[in-house]
Amino acid sequence: MIFFEPFQFPFMARALIELVILGVLAGTVGVLVLLRRLAFVSDTLTHTVFPGVVIGHLMGGDGGIFWGALAAGVATAALLTLLTHRRRVSEDAALAMLLTTLFAVGVVLVSRQTGFTSDLTAFLFGRVLTVTEAQLAQTAVVTVLVVALLAALRRPLLLRAFDPEGARAAGVPVGLLDLVLNVAVALVVVAAVKAVGTVLVIALLIVPAAAARTLSDRLVVIVPLACLVGAAAGWLGLVVSYQASVEYGVRLASGATVVLALVVMYGLAHAAGFARRRLGLSRARRTAMEVAA
């Protein structure tokens, strides 16, 4: 079976486990990102973590990356929450400025080093095939923490997403909730960036939730579906990139292949959702005609 054979290798199995865990984490957080329309905020966080990665690496080698990313992630999550609450500049312009400036800090620091280009590419789409067991443990811990936090706060978070004024009137601390969600997104980025890179993180956060949303209107269905789509795309992407290199001698970056698998699944979900609505519509019309007759 070509679908399971690649995972006999320990490095492939580790990559798969990492992607499945990340699929669950990003799927859960991603649904909130979708409901709050925070795609750009998430994209900003993926890039602002970069200077933290570079500084962490400069100060503490490979082990420093996680802590540098964590510090930068939490700091920018707080900064973003503040910035989006003071409406002096239009929000998206502020995000773009924060994103490019902090990313530029990282690039300037990296460009002083030797091995510049290889460090940069590693950051952009990670090295999922070299994930270690320690990294897996880190990712798992972050996932448990974040999912538990969001599950505990799900009611106020949903109320805030649906009706911010009503939430404020009901005495819900909206600013604090926004900080929680931004930190959750930052933690996804931190947990994932070393293994899968920024581009894959943003795709994992946005695409599975969007795909699940086209298939269902109910939140209890959307969240597990998003997790499933994320994990399935991870598995499919790994299989495709493995088969391409082993059978056909074509090297495909595995992280990016996973993203393409995600986009394909989104396209399919989109088509399925469209067909379902068409069917539902014609059924409704038929019923209406029967009633009229």
């Binding site: 400025m97 990313f103 690039v107 300037v108 280009t117 946005i206 086209t214 393409l260």
Partner: protein, 276 residues
């Protein structure tokens, strides 16, 4: 020997051109709230450029054509139920970039090409690039000068524009196409991610300085040119990445002006509260 034979001279000319171009187009990008869309365009033109390089056709043409496809995809997906423009943009962004990465990874010299594309290299621009950027500057300026008021109305009040009988779809497309060619012209110098800085930053800064439309264009262009020149200068001085230096200057100027206007606003409010 011409003056343009020097790498640094070419870089200076390119910096001035993209600085002015980014500033002017940025005014519309800010007004229409398109920074994230611009971000998606810079990422999604990537596969177009890779394919063009593989096939040996013009890079600008490849990137530009693919970017137009992305514009269409975002518009189509953005209309789906339960989705919004931001989500569609995010999907186009990550999908487009991943496609480019997959294509590049099947080639040799993988990491070096990717890094050059991501962070750009203004010191590597040739005379051909300069001509291309120059053409884009002239075309975009002409478009904005001739159709400025129609673009303005469509951006501000689309239904009102349609009620006047303006072809809003065409005008929208013209504006997005202008952003797209600006992106394609800016990316070789700054790279995908930092090109956004030069398009969004100067206009956002100008927007903090003035509320009026007409002065926005010259102020944004001046900030863009100044930051681009300062970035080139610093990067040759200390041997750091040029695109990132330019983006840092843009961020710095924005930050200073932001704080300056915030302080000024607070002082004004304080004097208004205590007129004595």
């Amino acid at each position: 020997m011409s003056w343009l034979d020097s790498t640094v001279h070419r870089a200076v000319v390119e910096a001035v051109l993209v600085g002015a171009l980014g500033g002017v187009v940025g005014v519309f990008v800010i007004a229409r709230r398109l920074p994230f869309f611009t971000m998606a365009l810079t990422h999604a033109t990537f596969p177009g450029i890779v394919v063009a390089a593989m096939l040996g056709v013009n890079l600008y043409l490849g990137g530009g054509l693919f970017g137009l496809l992305v514009v269409a995809a975002v518009l189509a997906f953005g209309r789906a139920r339960g989705q919004d423009f931001t989500t569609a943009t995010g999907i186009a962004l990550s999908g487009g970039f991943a496609l480019g990465v997959v294509l590049v990874s099947s080639q040799d010299g993988f990491t070096k090409d990717l890094a050059a594309y991501t962070v750009g290299d203004v010191l590597a621009v040739g005379t051909g690039d300069l001509v291309a950027t120059g053409v884009v500057v002239v075309a975009v300026s002409l478009l904005l000068a001739l159709l400025g008021k129609e673009l303005l109305l469509t951006a501000f009040d689309p239904v009102g524009a349609a009620a006047l009988g303006l072809p809003t779809l065409l005008l929208d497309f013209a504006l997005l196409a202008a952003v797209e060619v600006t992106v394609v012209a800016t990316v070789p110098a700054l790279g995908t991610i930092l090109a956004v800085a030069l398009i969004v930053g100067p206009a956002a800064t100008a927007r903090l300085i003035t509320d009026r439309l007409a002065p926005l264009f010259p102020i944004a262009a001046a900030i863009g040119v100044a930051c681009a020149l300062a970035g080139v200068w610093v990067s040759t001085l200390w041997n750091v990445a040029t695109g990132a230096s330019i983006a840092l200057f843009v961020g710095l100027v924005f930050g200073v002006v932001f704080l300056g206007t915030a302080v000024r606003g607070r002082v004004r409010r304080a004097t208004a509260a205590n007129p004595a």
